[in-house]
Amino acid sequence: MSAADTAQAPAGPDTATAPQARVAAKRTMADGVVSLTLRRLGGGRLPDWTPGAHIDLVLPNGTTRQYSLCGDRWDPYSFRIGVLREPDGHGGSDFVHDELHEGDVVGIGGPRNNFPLVPADRYLFIAGGIGITPLLPMVAQAELLQVPWDLLYGGRSYSSMAFLDELRDYGDKVHVTPHDTHGPLDLDAWLPAHPGGTKVYCCGPGPLLDTVAHRCAGWPTGWLRTERFVARSTADGARDRGFRVELRRSGRTITVPADRSVLQVLGEAGVQVLSSCRQGLCGTCETAVLGGEPDHRDSLLDDDERAAGDCMFVCVSRSLSEHLILDL
């Protein structure tokens, strides 16, 4: 990659807009699992991320779903996610499997990371099924850091377990346990009574996480880190149409069309909001929300802060409600 390419990355005030991506590749990874490679619409760098991060994927049918990033962060031009077809996925995963094609355009939010890889003397990674996705960049990173690690990877059967070919290179650090031939993961054998310098990262279905959490109940906080893989769908009905923003202090209302960011429209209306990264990363453009429901697309707020709905980053975030009231 070269600086000349990256120079095309959105930087100026005129280029910041709602982040959109094109499906550059769609591949079948296992029974019921596809991977999507996403690239920024119009080219340029995507926001930086760290292992354990997920993005919001805003599908053309209006559904928003969250997926862990499982690609290579040294490639700033693409995101990769893995999507399992879930019977009760409320139209998200079915849509990805059946109706989303290479070349289609999706909205993206984040990346956000509630499951960051923190320093340790040793890692034990435990994946159940599609829970392997956030752990893929983690094992790559542990390898890079030359920290010893093991990965226990359980699934229904070999044919349902995605990314096995990529894990093969790591040799005997990877312990693959398909349930139909090998039975359940032997957690008792792997989880020590006291963690010592080992940190455990576990992602997968609820029952697996509960078992692991129960097993590690006496550990100090922070040594076991889990991410529940559930079909979260936090923002069904993301608006593909514009919305109105009322500026309470200046007593004005502006209309934000689907293809412009709130920040852009504010700037055009002569309302100065200081910004910097224009990617939802730095926090400079934080603006207080007095009414309406923001559609958060930043990398900064955690789930509770998002739910509070009292502030937003106008460089990337939008509105779920038709009307949004800002303290401007």
């Binding site: 990659m1 000349a4 005030p13 700033p76 890889l117 850091l145 922070g222 224009r278 926090g283 400079t284």
Partner: protein, 401 residues
């Protein structure tokens, strides 16, 4: 050290950008550099330089091609021993950079600072009241230095004694990013003593239980960082948290003292304080330069740069690039200074920027309320530093409202 064998002949300048003459007034040199080409060879040090906004911005954000881990000063850590243990933030790359950055971003983030806001606004009022007992004073010592020194060490949780070491320590750290010239030599005699003091303050037991420092140690308790990392992260706060803000505030006050119509605007619309501060940071660029190192043979503006080459980015020049800014030399509150590179950009963007903005907002708001007019009252004096653009003295006269 490798020499910079580049594939195409580049424009070359022989000027030493760290000479006293250029540091005194870098603008003419920076203009020559910007106009010479998108990438320029500096023969004095055999390094490459970027001075246009587009290439500086691209290089700052492309951490994959341009690393910080080999040092963000002239010294190349691939071949030379750093003067102190490298910073876990400024002088580190992913993946090592991730955990310290995540911890500190949270502690210094806008929502974490909300609890300080009212106290800092009250502190600013009190300081301004006290300073305005006189109508003539030196804005550097009485305001630009006094305010950060009043609020920041308390916010970190430092003990009272020894705080006077913060400014000279920071000054030396920022000199040390440049070549080992007289400015570095001048600081050298006190390095051991100042470093020892700073290192001592980073220990858990030295820090008050409710400050940024204690929060860093709490992160170590949760395992988000290691116990060995915690003191070094506290050290980053002490190194980069004071001088930079002092010089940014001095730049802002100088900008207003020499642009009276902009002061009038701020008085009419005090909510412009944040924009004013960022405009001053763009205009003066308190942090003028930082280096990156090519991680591999990488291309910049059509030139292949060999792995290990040091690249000097002129943030100050980028912030006045006419290709990016209209009338870049004007300090103008009606401009949108957003996306200036005065705080850097990308992964390493100044983690303390929200702290600096809050300090500035508090101080400017208090001043705007009480001061009708501010002007220079005597000859000003620059403070020279290899990295920072700074004032030693700004005598001002104020008319109280």
């Amino acid at each position: 050290m490798p020499t910079t064998a580049v594939s195409t002949p580049l424009p070359s300048l022989g000027t030493d950008p760290f000479s006293a003459e250029v540091l005194e007034n870098p603008l003419p040199f920076q203009e020559r550099l910007r106009e010479a080409g998108p990438i320029v060879h500096l023969s004095h040090y055999d390094i490459l330089a970027l001075a246009r906004y587009e290439s500086v911005h691209a290089t700052l954000t492309d951490w994959q091609s341009f690393q910080s881990g080999a040092g963000v000063g002239m010294s190349n850590f691939r071949y030379e021993e750093p003067w102190r243990a490298p910073s876990l933030l400024l002088e580190a790359d992913p993946p090592h950079h991730d955990a310290p950055r995540a911890v500190l971003s949270r502690i210094l983030g806008p929502r974490a600072l909300r609890r300080l806001r009212d106290a800092w606004f009250a502190d600013a009022e009190a300081l301004v009241d006290q300073v305005l007992a006189d109508t003539e004073f030196d804005a550097v010592t009485t305001l630009a230095e006094a305010f950060p020194l009043r609020v920041f060490p308390d916010a970190v949780g430092l003990p009272r004694e020894g705080r006077e070491n913060l400014l000279p320590y920071g000054d030396h750290a920022f000199n040390a990013f440049g070549p080992s010239n007289e400015l570095v030599a001048k600081g050298a005699p006190r390095v051991a003593e100042l470093s020892a003091w700073v290192e001592a303050q980073c220990a858990r037991e030295r820090l008050a239980t409710d400050g940024f420092g204690a929060r860093i140690w709490e992160a170590a308790d949760r395992g988000d960082i290691t116990e060995r990392q915690a003191p070094l992260i506290v050290r980053s706060l002490l190194t980069a948290g004071v001088d930079t803000t002092v010089h940014a505030l001095a730049a802002t006050l100088y900008a207003f003292a020499t642009n009276p119509e902009q002061w009038r605007r701020l008085r009419e619309r005090p909510e412009l304080a944040r924009v004013a501060f960022d405009e001053a940071v763009r205009w003066e660029s308190p942090v003028q330069v930082f280096f990156r190192t090519a991680t591999d043979d990488v291309e910049i503006a059509g030139t292949t740069v060999p792995s290990g080459t040091k690249i000097l980015m002129f943030l100050g020049a980028a912030n006045r690039d006419p290709r990016r800014w209209d009338a870049p030399d004007a300090f103008d509150l009606s401009r949108d200074p957003s996306a200036h590179v005065g705080f850097g950009m990308g992964l390493h963007q100044c983690v303390g920027q929200h702290v600096a903005r809050l300090e500035a907002e508090a101080l400017l708001t208090a001043l705007a309320r009480r001061v009708q007019h501010i002007e220079l009252a005597g000859p000003t004096r620059r403070h020279l530093n290899n990295t920072l653009r700074a004032w030693a003295s700004l005598p001002v006269r104020v008319h109280r409202a």
